[in-house]
Point group: C2
Chain length 116, copies 2
């Protein structure tokens, strides 16, 4: 395995990067925004709204579902996807903590010159 030496990193770092990877594709960002905008949790309409094939969209949906960021509920023939707002809020807090940590410390000088 010459790939993904993730085990050597903090659990926090791994989790943050896992969520970041879920958002690392515009299609998945678009899916979340779509679910946020439409009250009704759409199903295959998502595929119709995106410039990708239905198969590909389904895969992106599965990726988001694997992280539990979205949830799918079978309603007869169609599947209803919705956001897991509770988890999204927790993720938001983690990202905020990360960014606050990153922006609070002394960094570059006034004209972006390192202070070392």
């Amino acid at each position: 395995m010459t790939y993904a030496k993730t085990a050597a990193f903090t659990e926090e770092q791994q989790h943050l990067s896992r969520v970041a990877k879920a958002l690392a594709h515009p299609a998945r960002v678009a899916i979340i925004q779509l679910l946020a905008s439409k009250q009704t949790c759409i199903s295959g309409d998502i595929a119709a709204e995106l410039p990708l094939s239905r198969t590909t969209v389904s895969q992106h949906l599965q990726e988001l579902k694997a992280l539990d960021l979205i949830r799918g509920e079978i309603d007869g023939l169609t599947v209803c996807y919705c956001l897991n707002t509770e988890l999204l809020q927790r993720v938001h807090q983690q990202f905020t903590a990360f960014f606050l940590e990153a922006t609070s410390g002394a960094a570059c000088g006034p004209d972006d010159a390192c202070a070392c």
Copy 2:
């Protein structure tokens, strides 16, 4: 090009996913946290702190630098990296806007059942 049909998405979605991709690896998250914790913008010490080869760390640094999230300043023989806190703050705002949008709308029901 059977990959990255990013051009079909919003500029906002593309940018968010680009930054997310930069954070989609624990090593890069660790690098940012390291730069945040150490006052002095370290150089190759970063490689010593991570469980990766110096070459690999250098590549991760270049990726972060390509997005201007970090900056490197040559100081004689060593290179000083530091966080671009200004940009990080802007990115933080964008992520916050995204998460607020995602968590505000009506989503799953009380027991995480879709409301459709």
